[in-house]
């Protein structure tokens, strides 16, 4: 079976600075894949190349089709939800309005009616605080809202960029628990970028380690845990 | 490295231009000469505007209002109280008893307008970009209303008629010739002043502020001082141009310097090229001749309404902004590049 998402020798640059030097990776349907690496290794850029927020060369194939270059709205409509660095919430809008925006991609009203109850099952507190302004939520709550907003649109692929950033360990645990649950319950496919390799490898079946814009190591999470270099550089033992 | 040829070349171009301006009246009708006089007057106004908008990066939609201040200053000084009463109007006591010779009113008009410009520049410091454009547009729109309201100083809507100017000191020059030389001598002097300002320390400070106020502050330039200065200088130029204009038409009323003139002035500067002194001359020609040629284009025997001028003007401005951001000056630069390259080889 062909993978849901496949990157072949993808390159991307910010002006004169090349950030990706030919990244190749695959994500199969129903799988959680982690993307690890140091700061500036190109993890975020890889997600951005997929979602079209940075222009790329090389091939990105999603569900057997080349992805639109530099057109994030088209990529979103194709079924890829990208929760970016900094979460990209509409901080001046209410929690509920943020969720409405999540459903926009599939036609707001019908989607919201069908999907909101499902999402509230995972984040019951969201329903109680639906009229609160998103900017007034705590960091962890904002991250969960961003996740919930992405889920409302029923994506084929969810891309999370450092969901653990700046959050307390218990909150991080909670977020990854929900991601795993979603994966188990609905077969949600996830590509997650993480600095926190421990947490990511717990959740993911497979992982890629990026170094200076290229895939340096790849394998099953269990294998990577045993990998000498990964252990020293990313797991810290 | 700049070789000696570059300044020499620049000098030659300037000398050639000066010569051309000096001998032009010999080869042209008095009607055309009047048009070239307006080009000179617009040149002065646009120099000031380009200093403000092109070099210091502050937009103004009220340049014509400062021209009006200059024009009224000159008109009142030319008339004096006695002249004012001859028009059958009650004269204000602010005015001197007797009128002045027109030419002496020009620097005074520049000075007065410059001071008012500085005063306006101070509150304008708190406004950037759009707010500043609004405030200056507001001044341009309200000035005619103010002029009408203070009838005892401005003659109200009826305006002020000035005595027909003639060459001073017993010089043998017809009035149109005299006015032509008056305008262009002012233009020449103010061009040199602008050139010295722009290439010197002040010019560097303006550009630094324009390209990033924060960076300018950290390199020790005080934006407040230099921005206010730019406003003052631009206003002074406008004042001189307004005085020349009032003398040229020997009449002034609240609609002599309408809001549309302010907009057309800004348009001309952009069409000529922001932050380019050579673009200013192009802008001045465009401002004078584009509306005329738009009405009756050369080569084709068509005649359009007066409003064809503004339409062509507006469209030209939009096309320049969309297609040639540097304006005419950048085209000029492209054409003359081989020569300049040779000179600085």
């Amino acid at each position: 079976m062909s993978p849901l998402l496949e990157l072949r020798r993808v390159e991307a640059r910010y002006g004169p600075i090349k950030a990706l030097h030919g990244v190749s990776l695959t994500v199969a349907d129903g799988e959680i894949v982690a993307l690890l690496g140091a700061n500036g290794a190109g993890k975020t850029t890889t997600l951005r190349a997929v979602s079209g927020t940075v222009r790329h060369t090389g091939e990105i194939v999603f569900e057997g089709k080349q992805i639109a270059r530099g057109k994030p709205d088209a990529v979103a409509r194709a079924g890829i939800a990208h929760v970016p660095e900094g979460r990209g919430l509409f901080t001046q809008l209410s929690v509920w309005e943020n969720l409405r925006m999540g459903a926009y991609v599939r036609g707001e009203r019908r989607t919201l009616r069908a999907e909101a109850p499902r999402v509230f099952k995972y984040f019951p507190w969201l329903e109680r605080r639906r009229d609160q302004q998103a900017g007034t939520l705590s960091g962890g709550e904002q991250q969960m809202l961003a996740l919930a907003r992405a889920l409302v649109g029923r994506p084929r692929l969810l891309m999370l960029d450092e969901p653990s950033l700046g959050l307390a360990p218990t909150v991080v645990q909670e977020i990854f628990r929900i991601v795993k649950e979603l994966n188990a319950d609905d077969g949600l496919t996830v590509l997650v970028v993480e600095q926190n390799a421990n947490v990511a490898l717990d959740a993911a079946a497979r992982a890629y380690v990026l170094e200076v814009g290229q895939v340096a190591i790849e394998g099953q999470s269990a294998e990577l845990r045993r990998h000498e270099g990964v252990r020293k550089s990313y797991l810290g033992y | 490295m700049r070789r000696w040829t570059t300044p020499v070349l620049q000098g030659l171009v300037l000398a050639g231009a000066a010569l051309l301006i000096a001998v032009l009246p010999r080869f042209t009708s008095e009607f055309r000469l009047g048009q070239f006089t307006y080009v000179g007057i617009y040149f002065v106004a646009l120099l000031g505007l380009n200093i403000l908008t092109g070099y210091s990066g502050q937009i103004t939609l009220g340049h014509a209002a400062f021209m009006a201040i200059g024009g009224y200053t000159a008109a009142l000084l030319i008339l004096g109280r006695s002249g004012f009463e001859l028009l059958g109007q009650q004269a204000s006591h602010v005015l001197p008893e007797h009128g002045m010779r027109a030419i002496f009113t020009i620097p005074i008009a520049g000075l007065v307008t410059g001071v008012i410009g500085c005063l306006f520049g101070i509150p304008a410091l708190r406004l950037a970009g759009v707010s500043l454009a609004l405030a200056t547009l507001a001044v341009a729109v309200s000035l005619p209303a103010i002029a009408k309201r203070f009838e005892h100083l401005t003659g109200g809507g009826g305006g002020l008629s000035l005595p027909l100017p003639h060459a001073p000191f017993g010089w043998h020059l017809s009035t149109p010739h005299w006015l032509y030389y008056e305008a262009w001598v002012c233009a020449g002097i103010l061009f040199v002043v602008a050139w010295l300002l722009v290439r010197g320390r002040v010019g560097r400070a303006w550009r630094a502020i324009r390209d990033g106020e924060v960076a300018a502050v950290s390199s020790g330039v005080s934006p407040a001082v230099y921005k206010t200065l730019a406003f003052g200088i631009a206003a002074a130029y406008a004042g001189v141009a307004g005085a020349l204009f009032a003398i040229q038409v020997s009449y002034i009323n609240p609609d002599t310097f309408p809001v549309t003139l302010s907009l057309l002035l800004l348009a001309s500067v952009v069409i000529g090229g922001l932050a380019s002194l050579s673009g200013v001359i192009v802008g001045a020609f465009v401002l004078e001749f584009l509306p005329i040629y738009a009405q009756s284009p050369p080569l084709v025997h068509l005649h359009f309404a007066k409003q064809a001028g503004p339409v062509v003007f507006g469209v030209t401005l939009m096309l320049i902004v969309l297609l040639i951001p540097g304006g005419a000056a950048s085209l000029l630069g492209r054409v003359t590049r081989p020569v300049r390259a040779w000179a600085s080889r």
Partner: protein
């Protein structure tokens, strides 16, 4: 200051209500400016001229025998199309250029439309029909012209309709989202470019309404919206250029204050209304650059 006429509360009430009517017109145009500013970060100096043009279009249709309300609706549709076209054709290519460039572009549009209106329709002043009967109703001793009530109703009705649109519809929500965070909106699948064009379209509709409501009293001429535009700018800036509520409150406030100043302060009279309004505006700006309702932007050094 001496009062030019004996002060009575009914006279005062009349000044306030007629001020509210003109204020509603300023509010509409101010809201148009804010709408564009919020989404595209541009102040559209041609907004008033666009309104003038569409008002002439309405006049032409009525001149050719169409009755008022069909002409009104058709004009709004044409205005919408025009606004969208202007954004797509003129503003889109300069989206990422400095603010000053875009301002200059809208000034070019201003000059061109102003000239075009004079060229096509002639410079002479024309009368413009009002849809409202020319009589007054007396409310609590205050006589209010039906014209004023109608103007206020149409303008404020539009504002409320627009508010509901932005609150309740998917499209309205997406447009708000784009105004707050265009990058995130793109990730939600929103075609941001089209939302901006829609913003311009709605702004043109608001302008057209302001134009058609102003025309019966100020009469139709190529410069009819210039003063209205200045008041609308003043309203928008007073309210905070990025606040729709501020624009509406600012518009009404300016309409009333100008009317009262003109009526009760001898020095101001008819001629100095505009300069006085601007002086007030400048003072407000200097004291509080972000306006009454605007977000305070902290400049980092």
């Amino acid at each position: 200051m001496a009062l030019p006429l004996a002060f009575t509360w009914t006279e005062f009430g009349q000044q306030v209500t007629s001020g509210l009517a003109s204020g509603a017109i300023y509010a509409s145009l101010a809201l148009a400016l804010v709408l564009i500013y919020q989404t595209t970060n541009v102040v559209n100096f041609a907004q008033g001229e666009m309104a003038t043009f569409t008002t002439y279009v309405a006049w032409t249709m009525m001149h050719h025998g169409l009755s008022y309300w069909p002409a009104f609706v058709l004009t709004l549709l044409i205005a919408f199309g025009g606004g969208v076209t202007v954004e797509r054709v003129l503003i889109r290519p300069v989206e990422h250029r400095p603010e000053i460039v875009i301002v200059i572009l809208t000034i070019g549009l201003f000059i061109a439309i102003n000239g075009l209106v004079g060229w096509v329709f002639g410079p002479e002043v024309k009368a413009f029909d009002s849809p409202f009967p020319n009589r007054s109703v007396v409310l609590g001793g205050v006589s209010i012209s039906v014209q004023d009530i109608g103007t206020f109703g149409v303008c404020l009705g539009t504002v409320v309709a627009l508010w509901l649109f932005f609150r309740l519809t998917t499209l309205g929500l997406a447009m708000r989202a784009v105004a707050f965070n265009p990058d995130a909106s793109r990730l939600m699948g929103v075609r941001v470019g089209w939302m901006l064009a829609l913003g311009w379209g709605f702004a043109a509709v608001l302008g057209a309404i302001a134009g058609m409501m102003a025309a019966p009293t100020v009469f139709l001429d190529p410069d009819m919206m210039l003063v209205v535009l200045i008041y609308a700018f003043a309203a928008a800036v007073l309210g905070g250029i990025d606040s729709p509520v501020g624009a509406v409150v600012g518009g009404l406030l300016i309409g009333v204050v100008i009317n009262l100043l003109g009526a009760y302060v001898n020095f101001v009279g008819q001629e100095l209304r505009l300069p006085t309004a601007l002086a007030v505006l400048l003072i407000v700006l200097v004291i509080r650059p972000s306006g009454l309702f605007g977000r305070v932007v902290v400049r980092k050094v």
